[in-house]
């Protein structure tokens, strides 16, 4: 290749096509009518910047054989109404080819309120399953062998309690904690910044998280103690680079907190996991995934001095972008999800949830969730995308984009470091403002028609609302209230109160790991609300200020 000659040709080409009238929103540095050539990869070193899959810096994937060895886990997020109903859905998904479980809890559960709390009125069972105590958890996993299936639980502020319940249910099944495989989301920082299901202030919340890291390192070694999440940050409106930057900044904060609490980085880092969004722009998403792996590997090795290769690996669960799905012409969402699935697979995800066509209107019906699962299976078995490891490596465009997203993300991380870290950046409102600005721009671009959303601002039709939507009505709340009354009447309230008192004492001492006390409380059938109220009493509640 004659470099100078190619440079000249590209310059001429760029000048010619600059007159094209098609405008593309979004990326400021990369113009879509631009052509990518070997010139865009100058300075890259294959060994240093890419390497082989399964070796540092893991740009090409965290496992050597990726899907040739084992497909990503098809892990469909599910849960609604009562534990009985959700259990049915979990068994339906497993029998339909789902290969891992993922629990959605209702808002009262996520925010540590019992179903009979005043604040829970109207909310019980609506966005996920209502879990008030270990009794509900036992029903949730009825006929499901926790020694054989891995489970992810989307629970943050009260993650310690739900983890304790899960361990307790497994114990009853005869499965020891050392055998358990799964994840708790347990990522409080993004709750403050983007998702909203916080309970306690940052300091005690970080303490709970590091307690969990320590407890699991000793007792539940095959468990992912955290799912450091960018999905929600992206859903809140951030760009791709912001998604990984803010998430990795959160990850840095968790590592620093754990090390400050006395843990060695290699004791916990191998069990950190991540959660990305799979958005519309297929190739940008692939680049984002690759950039994130390289960034994390270098941060863990160079910034934190981790020695175990497992500590350097960014293992990720992915969900297709819910916010891109429309209420208008919902069948189109199946197409969107298929493209997003392709992005996640070419990006090298370890597990995947695909949204259903009714996403914009309700929780998935059985019929629509089946299509969403089939989407993954079709990509896995029919498309060929799973047959080659990191198939887009070497693409001039994808490698250039990987570099560009990494550079942009590193700038954000530097800014956050300058502010004093993720916790400070969130308290100052920096991360929230950045997300909001991106969200506002996105909406403005749609309304000015610079960004086309099919069915919304182009190709609209007159249509009737979709029928057959899943509905959760108020009777669920009434049912849970009755269950709670029965539970409180039948359990041994003396042992409950003794356990809660022990928990309160433990919470009050910063040097104590509270997990054993939570385990004990959970087994007495203390309710989630009762346990969280003890923690509220000691830790206080987070006071959010609305930043607009």
């Amino acid at each position: 290749m004659n470099k100078e000659s190619l440079k000249l040709k590209v310059t001429e080409y760029t000048a010619k096509v600059a007159k094209s009238s098609v405008k593309f929103p979004e990326r400021t540095n990369l113009y879509y009518n631009r052509l990518y050539t070997p010139l865009d990869l100058e300075g890259m070193d294959y060994e240093k910047d890419l390497g082989l899959p399964g070796t540092y810096p893991f740009t090409r994937g965290v496992q050597p054989t990726m899907y040739r060895g084992r497909l990503w886990t098809m892990r469909m997020y599910a849960g609604f109404s009562t534990a009985e109903e959700s259990n049915k859905r979990y068994r339906y998904l497993l029998s339909s080819g789902g290969t891992g479980l993922s629990c959605a809890f209702d808002l009262p559960t996520q925010i540590g309120y019992d179903s009979d709390d005043v604040i829970s009125e109207g909310e019980v069972g609506k966005v996920g399953v209502a879990i008030d105590s270990l009794a509900d958890m036992e029903i949730l996993f009825d006929q499901i062998d926790l020694g054989k299936v891995s489970t992810s639980m989307t629970i943050n502020a009260p993650a310690s309690v739900l983890l304790a319940m899960y361990i307790a249910v497994a114990e009853k099944q005869g499965v020891g904690p050392e055998k358990l495989k799964g994840t708790i989301q347990n990522d409080i920082l993004k709750e403050y910044a983007a998702r909203g299901t916080y309970i306690f202030p940052p300091k005690p919340s970080m303490r709970l998280i590091t307690n969990i890291f320590e407890y699991c390192a000793k007792n539940v070694p095959n468990w992912n103690t955290i799912s450091i999440s960018g999905y929600h940050i992206r859903e809140a409106g951030s760009t791709a680079a912001q998604e990984i930057a803010f998430t990795i900044a959160d990850g840095i904060a968790y590592c620093e907190a754990a090390i400050k609490a006395g843990l060695d980085v290699d004791d916990f880092a191998g069990r950190l996991s991540f959660f990305w969004n799979a958005h519309n722009n297929v190739l940008e998403e692939v680049a984002k995934f690759r950039a994130s792996r390289r960034m994390w590997a270098r941060i863990m090795k160079e910034r934190f001095g981790a020695k175990n290769p497992k500590s350097w690996m960014l293992r990720v669960h992915t969900q297709t972008a819910g916010s891109t799905l429309t209420a208008q012409q919902p069948e189109n969402n199946i197409v969107r999800v298929a493209l997003q699935t392709a992005a996640a697979v070419m990006g090298g995800t370890q597990s995947l949830h695909t949204n259903s066509k009714d996403e914009a209107m309700a929780l998935p019906s059985e019929a629509s969730v089946r299509v969403a699962l089939r989407t993954q299976q079709i990509v896995a078995y029919e498309s060929g995308l799973a047959d080659v490891v990191d198939p887009l490596a070497g693409s001039y465009y994808v490698e250039a984009m990987t570099n560009e997203i990494e550079a942009e993300a590193l700038k954000y991380i530097q800014k956050i470091d300058d502010l004093g870290g993720a916790v400070a950046a969130i308290e100052e409102g920096y991360i929230q403002r950045e997300i909001q600005d991106s969200a506002y721009k996105w909406q403005k671009d749609i309304e000015s028609n610079e960004r086309v959303i099919v069915g919304i601002n182009k190709f609209q039709i007159e249509e009737k609302p979709l029928e057959g939507l899943l509905r959760v009505d108020a009777s669920v709340g009434e049912l849970q209230k009755k269950k709670l009354a029965k539970l409180r009447a039948e359990r041994d309230n003396v042992t409950v109160n003794a356990a809660l008192a022990k928990l309160e004492a433990a919470c009050s001492d910063e040097n104590v790991n509270v997990m054993p006390m939570i385990m004990e409380a959970v087994k007495t059938y203390a309710t989630l609300g009762e346990i969280c109220n003890v923690m509220r009493k000691v830790f206080g509640e987070y006071q959010a200020h609305a930043t607009l």
């Binding site: 109207g122 859903e235 909406q443």
Partner: protein, 130 residues
């Protein structure tokens, strides 16, 4: 003459999805309305009280958690109890079409569902605010 419009954008209940509420609040502000955003976790009582204290002409409720059938009518009730009978109350979020008639009967003037443009909300307020 331009009306002096004050809007309370509120998030009732436990729902933490605030992208839409914030985008709408900002768009309304850019359109010249005075906007007060309550932030998350507002009880019906807090919303009604804020509306009174801020002397608003419009209350815009955002909810994506499915609790709208319980919370929206309750908020309307409390707002009316406080003597604010002229306030324009609108809602938005993940609200099935089949729920809208009942919400309107309860006093929510209009419900804006996914895909709505901010311009249509601004136009609606300008056309209906008292």
């Amino acid at each position: 003459m331009e009306k002096h419009v004050r809007v309370l954008v509120a998030k009732p209940g436990l729902d933490g999805h605030d992208r839409g509420a914030k985008v709408v609040a900002r768009a309304l502000r850019d359109a010249g309305f005075e906007v007060i955003y309550t932030g998350l976790r507002q009880t019906p009582e807090q919303i009604a009280e804020a509306a009174l204290q801020e002397d608003v002409n419009v209350i815009a409720l955002s909810l994506l958690s499915g609790a709208h059938n319980h919370l929206f009518p309750r908020i309307v009730e409390l707002v009316h109890d406080k003597g604010m009978t002229d306030v324009l109350m609108i809602g938005g979020g993940v609200i099935p079409a089949s729920d809208i008639p009942a919400l309107k009967a309860a006093g929510i003037a209009e419900v804006f569902t996914p895909g709505t443009s901010t311009t249509s909300i601004i136009d609606y307020i300008n056309a209906h605010v008292q």
